[in-house]
């Protein structure tokens, strides 16, 4: 079993997302440690991209903060090396195709695996294009994570059949960001996945911010992904974000127990 799948074993996984280098890589290191200690089962590390077309304003702004601070892919790799000395929780990179492609797909994936990353999420690489990235990931032992959306319908079976690690279920139309209501029938989406791939964990992301929402979503899925709600706190508290983020992660994790 991959390290990612084990994150879902016998529990509902809480999966926080933060943007590396926001506001500094030093702070990212502290935040990852704090999140791991407070119940994160799997952590998504965003590599900032200049033009993140799947993100709402909160993560767009965080990406800009990180890039302005001089964050680069190489510096993030160095930071992960450091983190791995202290944190063993599974971690995946989330970024955009061009960040990986321009680095060299093989060089990127090989390095990511070497420094202890467990998976890769590219929101702008759908099923039709994944063969450019997925075989290299498989070769180096990284799970290439597939996404399904409320508009996927008949595509879910095709995607789920070949999914690795976990399936990222996008809860809502549009971009990332906090939503008061999630109206998609996520239960039905998860059911369609499990029909063709019973062992693949499903985690729901996009729009989730409160413990109540998390608890609700966990009824249908194996895990809950939260990005903007955390990144917003980092934007607000900056260098002092460690405690508020730790508290928030702990609250969210409790709601999943």
């Amino acid at each position: 079993m991959s390290k990612i799948k084990s994150a879902f074993e016998n529990k509902k996984a809480f999966i926080p997302f933060i943007t590396c280098g926001d506001p500094s890589l030093d702070m990212t290191k502290k935040l990852v440690k704090a999140m791991a200690e407070n119940g994160a089962d799997l952590i998504e590390l965003g590599i900032p991209f200049s033009d993140p077309t799947a993100e709402g304003p909160v993560i767009q702004t965080a990406s800009l903060r990180a890039l302005t601070a001089g964050t680069t892919t190489d510096k993030i790799f160095d930071m992960v090396r450091e983190i791995r000395k202290e944190v063993s929780v599974p971690m995946v990179f989330m970024t955009y195709a061009n960040v990986v492609y321009s680095y060299g797909i093989e060089k990127f994936v090989k390095t990511a695996a070497e420094i202890g990353m467990d998976g890769l999420i590219l929101p702008d690489v759908p099923f039709e294009e994944k063969e450019e990235f997925a075989p290299t990931c498989r070769q180096y032992g990284l799970d290439f994570i597939s996404l399904i959306a409320p508009t996927s319908n008949d595509r879910i079976a095709m995607i789920a059949k070949k999914a690795e690690g976990f399936v990222y279920c996008v809860s809502s139309l549009g971009v990332t960001g906090v939503r008061t209501n999630i109206t998609t029938d996520v239960g039905a989406m998860v059911e369609q996945v499990k029909k063709v791939n019973p062992t693949i964990p499903c985690a729901i992301g996009f729009g989730i911010s409160t413990p109540e929402q998390a608890g609700n979503m966990a009824k249908y899925a194996d895990g809950v992904i939260v990005g903007s709600a955390i990144v917003r706190r980092i934007g607000e508290f900056g260098d002092k974000a460690e405690i508020p983020v730790a508290q928030y992660v702990s609250e969210m994790k409790n709601a999943l127990k």
Partner: protein
Amino acid sequence: MEERKGRFGVHGGQYIPETLMNAVIELEKAYNHYKDDPEFNRELTELFNDYAGRPSRLYYAGKMTADLGGAKIYLKREDLNHTGSHKINNVLGQALLAKKMGKTRLIAETGAGQHGVATATAAALLGMECVVFMGKEDTERQALNVYRMRLLGSTVIPVTSGTATLKDAVSEAMREWTNRIDDTHYCLGSVMGPHPFPTIVRDFQSVISKEIKEQILEKEGKLPDAVVACVGGGSNAIGAFCHFIEDKDVRLIGCEAAGRGIDTFETAATINTGKLGIFHGMKSYFCQDEYGQIAPVYSISAGLDYPGIGPEHAWLHDTGRAEYVAITDDEAVNAFEYLSRTEGIIPAIESAHAIAEVMKLAPTMDKDQIIVVNISGRGDKDCAAIARYRGENIHE
């Protein structure tokens, strides 16, 4: 020559969020159905001819030819189309297609505002709702076009993210499409983005080269030696090149915006300064840094101020079938003034990039050779900006 679906060599593809996949699949199916549908084509031709004013003229620029003292120069007058540019060709095609698909709302990005105005126009004509995303900086550079769009009943949303120019307008339009798909068609304005857009837009713009071919054969009894057009995303260029791609003796020359020069950071010359990458749904050449961060590009022309180029152009470059040259702001402004004075035709500053290349090329060619240059749009929208460039402080 498309090796995989929606590919031009290695370029193209569908690098978009899963949320949009069924939308582009639905669009491709509808397009494949309607492109050969006689009723659809009859309606589109009627719109082209009776509404947009096609065919556009192929005008022999006698004074310019005499002045430059080389090849004979013909101007393809896309600036005479309704709404003042080639953009209307693609928009009428896509809007009609969207309507057939049952969509009631169009969204679009715009740089100079020409595509936005064309989309707003088609929306008004076909009774559709329309929202146009435009970089905030461009809404200021092209204030008149913002007013035109509003006058036509559209909503214009100034985009403040990123560099607040064309690339950010595309990003924002894509975000809006993922948010609302059921009733909305994204009317992409250039031969870029995910498949099937580069193919659809090329097909609707190919009317330009279809007409050039007929017109030049009628006037000269032979094909031109060179076809020249400006390239941002590349829709007017691909339209002007399309029916000549198989005619290997016809040189195809695309003119990129060099801004302040290709050896500066203030440039938008993608082929000349970019490298292979993946962005806005496609694999192609992009101006970017060593980590794949998209570069903030610059050109005096809002319509060419884009860090990428359509995948078919990238492929025409790879195969050597087309040449891509870089034209600076200075050269373009000179050409803008030159064509105005010499022929009494004020071209769009985008099209002036192509004129600038012709000014260099024509004198090197023989008098029996022929250049066709695509005047993709008219320059009224640029007059205030060019005046300011020359130090005259006039405002619209």
